[in-house]
């Protein structure tokens, strides 16, 4: 099997985590593409924090509605059975535990399950709805590349970037592995195809628990 493009590997693997009927909020950027890789019999309900549930695919060119956009401001659509509401209701849904899963990008994730994904030091331009999502969603999945462009680990002992929330990450999916955050800390669940446990450890600054059996991501 030829090596898959790293970002595609990530979103394909995250897509396996989603179940029919779940209310899901996907962050801007990489997580957006998760919905393109759901199995045909998996029907999730997408929540868009600017005020609706039942988000559908982007409209065809020429069929955009200026009053219907996603949380990134891009043209969007609503499926039958969807509903619009105001921002207070939108975040009541998010903070109140009515979103089953959120999939978000990350800048750093640390051993305590802390997430930093909204700012780099010196460039603080706003957290949007990320802090509410990470605290409120029942399950938080971070989808990010394992290392920065210059090769440093984004899975660290302690986040150095401004935090989005503390101890809320449940699952981390990277181009190298899948890590679950347990009450005992991060546990390596799977490695990517053609990636060894030693490869993961070499690329990871955080201390990981390695079970006797580590699976292989099948996407």
């Amino acid at each position: 099997m030829a090596a898959m493009e790293p970002r595609e590997l990530i979103v394909r693997r995250v897509a396996q985590e989603l179940r029919s009927g779940q209310v899901v909020n996907v962050g801007i950027g990489l997580p957006t593409f998760v919905v393109n890789h759901l199995a045909h019999d998996v029907n999730i309900i997408l929540q868009s924090e600017n005020g609706f549930v039942g988000m559908g695919d982007p409209p065809e060119p020429g069929r955009e509605d200026p009053d219907l956009v996603n949380a990134g401001g891009q043209p969007s659509s609503i499926k039958p059975g969807g509903a619009f509401f105001d921002s207070a209701m939108s975040f009541a849904i998010i903070r109140g535990g009515h979103v089953d899963v959120t999939v978000l990008g990350g800048l750093q994730v640390d051993e305590e399950g802390n997430l930093a994904n909204w700012a780099i030091p010196g460039r603080i331009i706003g957290m949007g709805g990320a802090m509410d999502l990470v605290v409120g969603a029942r399950r938080v999945i971070v989808a990010m590349e394992h290392r920065t462009r210059d090769g440093r680990s984004k899975v660290v002992p302690k986040c150095t970037f401004p935090l989005t929330a503390t101890a809320e990450v449940d699952l981390l999916v990277t181009d190298l592995c899948v890590i679950e955050f347990t009450s005992d800390g991060p546990v390596l669940l799977e490695t990517a195809p053609h990636v060894t446990v030693d490869d993961v450890l070499a690329a990871t600054e955080a201390k990981l628990q390695i079970p006797d059996e580590v699976g292989v991501m099948t996407v």
Binding site: G51, L68, D86, A88, I124, I125, G128, D132, G136
Partner: protein, 216 residues
């Protein structure tokens, strides 16, 4: 009490130094005509309470390039480099607030609450300066209410009694801001006679709205 006004009439009480709430999310559901009028009037030293700073050439985002804003309360500035530059150069005071907390603070301002306790932001920079409380083993931040001198809204349909509906994702912060300002004006795509909106479909009751402006 007919509430239909011209643009000029609707904002005649706008003065320097006021605090404005303006509806919209990345300029969607933003009252473009009312923002035009704020620009035409050239009032300065405004404090702006908005979800985000929109774009330099769209919605309330245009007020930054026009140098009318000295203070900003919002959750996201990422699409407006002009506002970011003003912040970085110290010309714009900025208070960032998580989006859900911002929505609740505006709602609390309109609902007569002294504040709300949220788990959002605990352990982050969002907790700076805020009271923390632990209740039943969970930690919360006390977020205080927000109110404004004026709220500028974008409605879909209005009636002459000020009842409003919004359309699709253009609803966002508009109904919240309608409750939390001393003077509330809405521009609407369509203005109907009193009673032209089914009372079960009204999204903002007319008692909150002081003036309605029809826009095409």
């Amino acid at each position: 009490m007919p509430k239909l006004r011209t643009l000029d009439q609707a904002l005649e009480s706008l003065t320097d130094g006021m605090t404005l709430m303006i509806g919209g999310f990345l300029a969607v559901g933003s009252p473009e005509a009312l923002v035009d009028e704020v620009i035409r009037r050239g009032v300065r030293d405004l404090t702006l309470i908005v979800n985000d700073t929109a774009m330099p050439d769209r919605g309330y985002g245009r007020l930054f390039a026009n140098g009318q804003i000295i203070k900003l309360i919002c959750c996201y500035m990422g699409m407006n480099p002009t506002a970011i530059t003003q912040k970085d150069e110290g010309r714009l005071e900025v208070e960032l607030c998580p989006q859900g907390s911002l929505a609740e603070r505006i709602r609390a301002g309109g609902a007569g609450l002294g504040g709300i306790l949220t788990p959002t932001g605990v352990g982050t920079v969002a907790e700076e300066g805020k009271l923390k409380m632990e209740l039943d083993g969970r930690t919360y931040l006390l977020e205080r209410p927000l109110r404004a001198d004026m709220a500028l809204l974008r409605a879909h349909v209005a009636d002459r009694a000020g009842n409003l509906t919004y359309r699709k994702s253009a609803r966002n912060f508009n109904p919240l801001m309608a409750t939390a300002a001393g003077y509330v004006v809405a521009e609407a795509s369509e203005v109907r006679d009193v009673g032209g909106i089914d009372p079960d479909h009204v999204m903002t009751p007319g008692i909150f709205v002081d003036a309605v402006v029809g826009v095409s």
